[in-house]
């Protein structure tokens, strides 16, 4: 019983996450192709420049829709709790793989929570600005000033999004066990306790999680 692994993500959540991930990679590659001349060759992955231009917005909209499902699924778990502030202050220790003085946290650590809200903001900006600069359908309804602003905001939000995802992917590479949690869903008890202790206590019902907040830190 004690060695039984814990289900961190069910099949629907995993599918949803990877759909968003695949769509993000496609949107990012096609977007980067149009962003910098040095990366225009990426447009060949999509069948050339015109196809890249045609596909990119559809990929983006699809990514947004699936991302919304993820938001609906996970937004509650991404509210900040008391321990998060201390965790963030001790981020240097976290970065060095040190655990002493790092408070226990819930299902998501504050870094993941910041990522979550950053992604949501970026996705919203990308969607709204993307509609404005979508020549084939919507640009005729907007003035040139809005189009210019939207173009800049679109590039800025995409830049922040790509940076965030680079961090997100590296965190998965760095914290062993997290990629498999998203691939097949299960984490070991030791993993859960080490990285998300409050969540671990909650799902194993060892203790009511509230009474434990702040104890370790």
């Amino acid at each position: 019983m004690k060695d039984k692994p814990i289900l961190r993500y069910n099949a629907n959540e995993r599918t949803n996450h990877w759909l968003v991930a695949i769509l993000f990679i496609m949107a990012a590659l096609s977007g980067l192709a149009l962003f910098h001349p040095a990366l225009f060759w990426l447009s060949h992955l999509f069948g050339g420049g015109p196809w890249t231009r045609i596909l990119h917005p559809f990929i983006g909209v699809l990514m947004f829709v699936f991302f919304l499902f993820l938001v609906l699924r996970f937004w509650r778990a991404n509210f900040f709790i008391a321990n998060d502030r201390l965790w963030l202050r001790r981020i240097d220790r976290v970065m060095r793989n040190e655990e002493e003085g790092v408070p226990p946290i819930g299902k998501y650590n504050p870094g993941q929570k910041l990522l979550f809200w950053t992604l949501l903001l970026c996705m919203l900006v990308l969607l709204l600005s993307g509609v404005v600069i979508w020549r084939a359908w919507f640009s005729q309804y907007f003035g040139i000033g809005s189009i210019r602003l939207a173009t800049l905001l679109h590039a800025l939000a995409a830049f922040v999004l790509v940076l965030s995802i680079i961090i997100h992917i590296y965190a998965g590479v760095w914290i062993k066990g997290s990629v498999s949690a998203m691939l097949h869903g299960w984490v070991s008890r030791a993993w859960a306790k080490k990285h998300h202790e409050l969540w671990y206590r909650e799902v194993t019902r060892e203790d009511p999680p509230d009474s434990q907040i702040g104890k370790k830190g």
Binding site: K2, A33, L34, F35, H36, P37, A38, L39, F40, S43, G48, G49, P50, T52, R53, M95, R96, N97, I133, R135, A136, S139, I144, I147, R148, L149, T151, L152, A155, L156, F159, V162, L163, I166, I167, I169, Y170, V173, W174, I175, K176, G177, S188, R189, A190, W191, A192, K193, K194, H195, Y200, T204, E206
Partner: protein
């Protein structure tokens, strides 16, 4: 034109072929001589094999109503009441200005879709155009249009095909009043200067040449009666510049963003190299509660066998 004549190319970060010295050309449009006959529009349409739809009247003589993928030049008519209460009919032949610093070329993401020839002509290569419309976003004069037929961008070519073989543009050739002239940019400026002297002598004190510095000068220039108020001429921009938003988007942000993304990937890699992965020791028994740990007093205690009770001090 020979490929050596291309001195700027969209979405290209290295220097294009630029060793040949060529004289810059310019088209000079004298709005003060224009009678609004639209022969230039017809000549443009004939030479370039363009047949736009017959549109609707919106209460002006403008026909079609706007520039389009099949209307590369358009007479724009403005009824202006001057300070004396007299009506002035200001007619401006609108179309690409062929900027020395073209906003369209700066914004275009497709290599070679927009080029600038050594003689100053800015040309679209529809074969490389991807139809994104960034050229429209970049243009300070609102000129390029995307065709709904093929989703390619079009605009006036300054008849680059004619100019390449030593002919003047079709609109110039057809203009019955000599309001449109074509030649080297220097010659056109000289010609304009003479016209302006003439206009000033006739009471147009603000007559002047429109060759805006904000875009590095243009290869289509206007002689205006009211050069102090270009806006009067159907919204000709007073001080056209590539929008700072476009400048930011297509300028410093591009290399910086790429650099930052590369740096983030490298930072991750070296974090892994220096700090290493974070692994869970699976033999750390996860479910042992904290309370089961025995409390051990680490203090050193003196043991004195002669004292009663056998201890130097009480153990906790």
């Amino acid at each position: 034109m020979a490929s050596q004549d291309i001195i700027a190319r969209s979405a290209t970060t290295t220097a294009p072929p630029s060793i040949r010295q060529q004289e810059e050309v310019a088209k000079l449009i004298d709005t003060t001589k224009c009678i609004g006959c639209k022969a230039c529009q017809v000549a443009c349409s004939e030479w370039n094999e363009l047949r736009d739809e017959v549109g609707h009247s919106y209460g002006t003589y403008d026909n079609p109503h706007d520039l389009g993928a099949e209307t590369w030049t358009l007479m724009r008519f403005t009824e202006h009441e001057n300070a004396d209460g007299n009506l002035e009919w200001l007619i401006r032949k609108d179309g690409c200005m062929h900027c020395a610093d073209p906003g369209c070329l700066k914004a275009c993401p497709s290599p070679g879709a927009i080029i600038k020839h050594a003689n100053g002509i800015v040309d679209f290569n529809q074969d490389h155009c991807i139809g994104c419309g960034y050229c429209i976003t970049g243009c300070p004069f609102n000129i390029p249009r995307i065709s709904q037929k093929d989703h390619k961008a079009y605009k006036c070519t300054l008849c680059s095909d004619r100019v390449a073989v030593g002919l003047e543009p079709a609109c110039v050739k057809t203009c019955p009043t000599g309001a449109i002239v074509f030649g080297s940019k220097e010659d056109m400026k000289e010609h304009a200067a003479e016209r302006i002297v003439d206009l000033k002598s006739r009471g147009f004190d603000n007559a002047g040449l429109y060759d805006p510095d904000g875009v590095g000068g243009t290869h289509v220039m206007y002689v205006l009666h009211h050069a102090d108020q270009p806006k009067l001429y159907a919204g000709l921009p007073d001080q056209p510049v590539i929008s700072p938003l476009v400048g930011l988007w297509k300028g410093i942000s591009k290399p910086l963003a790429l650099l930052a993304m590369g740096a983030a990937v490298l930072a991750g890699f070296f974090h892994y190299v220096r700090i290493g992965p974070n692994r869970v020791e699976e033999d750390e028994h996860p479910s042992a509660p904290d309370t089961s740990v025995h409390v051990v007093d680490p203090a050193v205690h003196v043991y004195d066998p002669h004292k009663p009770g056998g201890q130097g001090e009480e153990r906790p």
